[in-house]
């Protein structure tokens, strides 16, 4: 009898604990919002915390928590969360991840909240590296970008100055290669970039872009690599990367370099050029602030087949998206949070976590005093204005030429493009073999996901 009584008490205790474990916040009448983000540095976390605290002080009935998920683990985490149905209310991630989640049916359209943030529809800068990256052909917006980052060539101004090289004279790939040889002759490692398995695809896209190549048609999204002239632009990009690597312009071990590696190398003075989105500045400000005054940026030199200078530039955006299920039940709280985040002060705080890398897209922020109140952002004001003037007009991302597509999400989440680059650069694959691998895998993906290879008809 005594044992039975103990059992009953134990079960009751567990039940009570379960109820409380699940409902503390609800019992206080609070709405609990969660978001995942791939912006994971300590500075990012501090910025988020600051914004969350300010928001919660204004909205004591809403509690916001954040979970940090690295880009490397993003898709796996998303897959398991989709399967279990346990995903966050919102995400703060890049446009490829937005496209992936949109095609997984996870997201809610954000047109209403965008109208609240930008009632006139004129505040966000125009171009492909802005709202259009998250707008599907039906006009729905699935993510609102708070920042963008433009890939360009960051360089050591002091070294080029010492060698009497005018950065403005580097306008073609040959020019860049000549300077690389020159700096190599002075004992420097010329070029750093992320070529690890998760990142190498980006460099293929970046250098193909700089050679005037789009993978997809800008108007109807048709696949273009079947056209020999476009295919050649990608081949030339591969050849150029191989030339840089085989001739010792890139450091040993570059095949394992992630983003942090080339940023740290630049900050520590180990490389002269980086193909970078400007993250070098944030890292330098942390590990070697003295280096900051030596860093500057130029637009990508144009490849042999590129017709325009400056050529296309790769641009990433970091956008807020809302998961569909959450929006049905927590719309008011979510809208409040998103609108709060897009206030100039808060965008500036978030951007300052990665100065120069995070560039706001709202004119109201760019023209406000608060954005340049961050000393490092202010220090690089000329470079930021230069990027907006010369790189932003041509900025886009492969897969998003005609807006977000299912293939865009797959290019980022799958490894086949990176594997092609790595095998060509580091494993003696022939150019034909590499191009065949890229082409067949791209077509496999398009077929698998019913992407219209000849473009959208409407």
């Amino acid at each position: 009898m005594k044992k039975r009584g103990t059992l009953v008490v134990f079960i009751l205790l567990i039940s009570v604990l379960a109820v409380f474990a699940n409902g503390t916040n609800e019992s206080e009448g609070k709405t609990h919002l969660t978001f995942w983000t791939a912006l994971t540095t300590t500075a990012d976390q501090q910025a988020h915390q600051k914004i969350i605290e300010a928001f919660q002080a204004e909205n004591p009935d809403i509690e916001v928590t954040v979970e940090y998920v690295s880009h490397k683990d993003w898709y796996t985490r998303m897959m398991t969360s989709v399967t279990s149905g346990d995903y966050p209310d919102m995400v703060l991630c890049d446009q490829s991840e937005v496209a992936w989640m949109y095609y997984q049916g996870m997201l809610a359209p954000m047109n209403d909240v965008l109208s609240a943030i930008d009632p006139t529809g004129t505040d966000f800068v125009s171009g492909k590296a802005s709202i259009d990256s998250c707008r599907t052909r039906d006009g729905n917006v699935w993510g609102i970008p708070f920042s963008m980052n433009i890939n360009a060539i960051w360089y050591r101004a002091d070294i080029l100055d010492d060698l009497g090289i005018d950065p403005d004279s580097i306008r073609t790939w040959d020019d860049l290669y000549e300077v690389c040889e020159l700096v190599k002759g002075q004992g420097y490692t010329a070029m750093g970039m992320a070529l690890a398995r998760e990142a190498a695809y980006q460099q293929l896209c970046i250098w193909s872009n700089a050679n005037g190549c789009n993978f997809f048609d800008e108007e109807n999204g048709a696949y273009l690599l079947d056209i020999p002239s476009e295919r050649k632009k990608v081949e030339d990009a591969l050849l150029y990367l191989k030339k840089l690597n085989d001739n010792g312009m890139m450091p040993a071990g570059v095949s394992n370099w992630m983003w942090v590696d080339y940023r740290t190398a630049m900050a520590n003075g180990e490389v002269v050029f980086t193909s970078s989105w400007g993250g070098d500045i944030g890292v330098a400000s942390e590990v070697n602030p003295d280096m900051l005054e030596n860093l500057s940026v130029m637009v990508h030199p144009v490849g042999p087949d590129g017709e325009e200078y400056p050529p296309y530039h790769d641009a990433g955006i970091w956008a807020w998206s809302i998961t569909a299920g959450a929006y049905e039940t927590k719309k008011e709280a979510i809208d409040k949070w998103i609108e709060f985040f897009f206030e100039p002060e808060n965008i500036s705080i978030a951007c300052a976590a990665r100065p120069v890398y995070n560039l706001p897209l709202q004119k109201s922020v760019l023209e406000s005093d608060v954005f340049y109140s961050d000393p490092i952002t202010e220090m690089f004001k000329d470079e930021i204005e230069y990027l907006f003037e010369y790189a932003l007009p041509t900025a886009r991302r492969v897969g998003f030429e005609a807006g977000p597509s299912i293939v865009a999400g797959q290019i980022s989440s799958q490894l086949f493009l990176s594997d092609a680059v790595q095998n060509y650069l580091f494993n003696n694959w022939s150019l034909e073999e590499t191009m065949e691998y890229i082409d067949s895998n791209m077509k496999d993906v398009m077929e698998e996901f019913n992407y219209p290879i000849d473009g959208y008809n409407e």
Partner: protein, 291 residues
């Protein structure tokens, strides 16, 4: 029909939790995996088409699969050989009784005790071409001309991971070997010494023949383990660079969580399973003989 006694009923009742766990977490996933391997199933699109043995047929014409299989066999053989030699050598050294032997044996167990994630990250740092201590020392003592990118060089990446795997796995074998060595009758050695046998003669004519079957059993057991190695390889290289360390378990992961082709991935998993069943067959045969 014989009725169950009360004790028997209670006995079966106690078995229920473990049966339930087995059914839910072993049998169901296993059967599901077999079934899935006959489907063209894409997790992302949720496309599910019966494909018969199509996945298996396309697998055998998949060059990446064969390359991954080759790498897995190389990794398994190399790792096991290294572990056996290192473990046996150290076991011979530690198969003595002197002050502090317990502590020394415990120290040698450390690689096995460390969590894999700690081992992998520590070795990644040590092998790093820019800030790794190993390449620094090699350069310092003029053993290499410059920094060596162990994990970024397609020729060195797999051997480097194997070296770490050897380091991590040898203590388990070492303990088994020490236990086995202590079971060899001392009289055999005494007789050999009287007959003037050298240390090498004792090793090759007494120790090794005596331990032969036990070594075979341990090696087979470890083969199954090492063949399935996923965590260490993934944490150190993620299968790169340029496929250099993409073993079969990594390839299964890439086909499933990378390309969402779970049908294909499960067919590869079934091939691994079949291979390991054969190995297990040998293993149990040997145990039977040993008994």
């Amino acid at each position: 029909m014989r009725r169950l006694t009360r004790e028997a009923k209670i006995g079966y009742l106690f078995l229920l939790p473990s049966i339930a766990v087995f059914l839910c977490f072993v049998l169901y996933p296993f059967i599901y995996t077999i079934v899935l391997s006959f489907f063209d199933y894409n997790w992302f699109t949720k496309k599910t088409l019966f494909n018969g043995i199509g996945n298996y047929i396309s697998l055998f014409s998949d060059q990446t699969f064969w390359a991954a299989l080759g790498r897995t066999i190389f990794y398994t053989i190399g790792t096991l050989a290294g572990q056996c030699i290192l473990a046996f050598g150290i076991a011979l050294l530690l198969n003595k009784e002197y002050a502090g032997i317990g502590i020394i044996r415990s120290i040698f167990l450390l690689p096995w005790i460390l969590p894999t994630v700690v081992t992998a990250l520590a070795w990644r740092m040590m092998l790093h071409e820019r800030w790794g201590v190993i390449t620094y020392l090699l350069e310092l003592f003029n053993i290499t001309d410059g920094r060596v990118a162990f994990l970024a060089d397609t020729a060195l990446a797999l051997p480097s991971v194997m070296a770490v795997s050897i380091w991590r796995g040898f203590p388990l074998l070492m303990v088994s070997f020490i236990a086995a060595l202590q079971s060899v009758p001392k009289e055999l050695y005494e007789a050999a010494i009287i007959d003037g046998a050298s240390w090498f003669n004792q090793l090759f004519h007494i120790t090794l023949p005596y331990l032969r079957k036990l070594i075979a059993i341990i090696v087979l057991f470890r083969t199954i383990w090492v063949f399935n190695d996923y965590d260490l390889v993934w944490l150190m290289t993620r299968g790169g660079p340029a496929f250099a360390t993409e073993t079969l378990p990594i390839y299964v992961y890439q086909r499933s969580f990378g390309a969402y082709k779970f049908g294909e991935a499960t067919s590869i998993a079934m091939v691994i399973f079949f291979f390991l069943v054969v190995m297990s067959g040998f293993y149990f045969k040997l145990i039977e003989k040993e008994d």
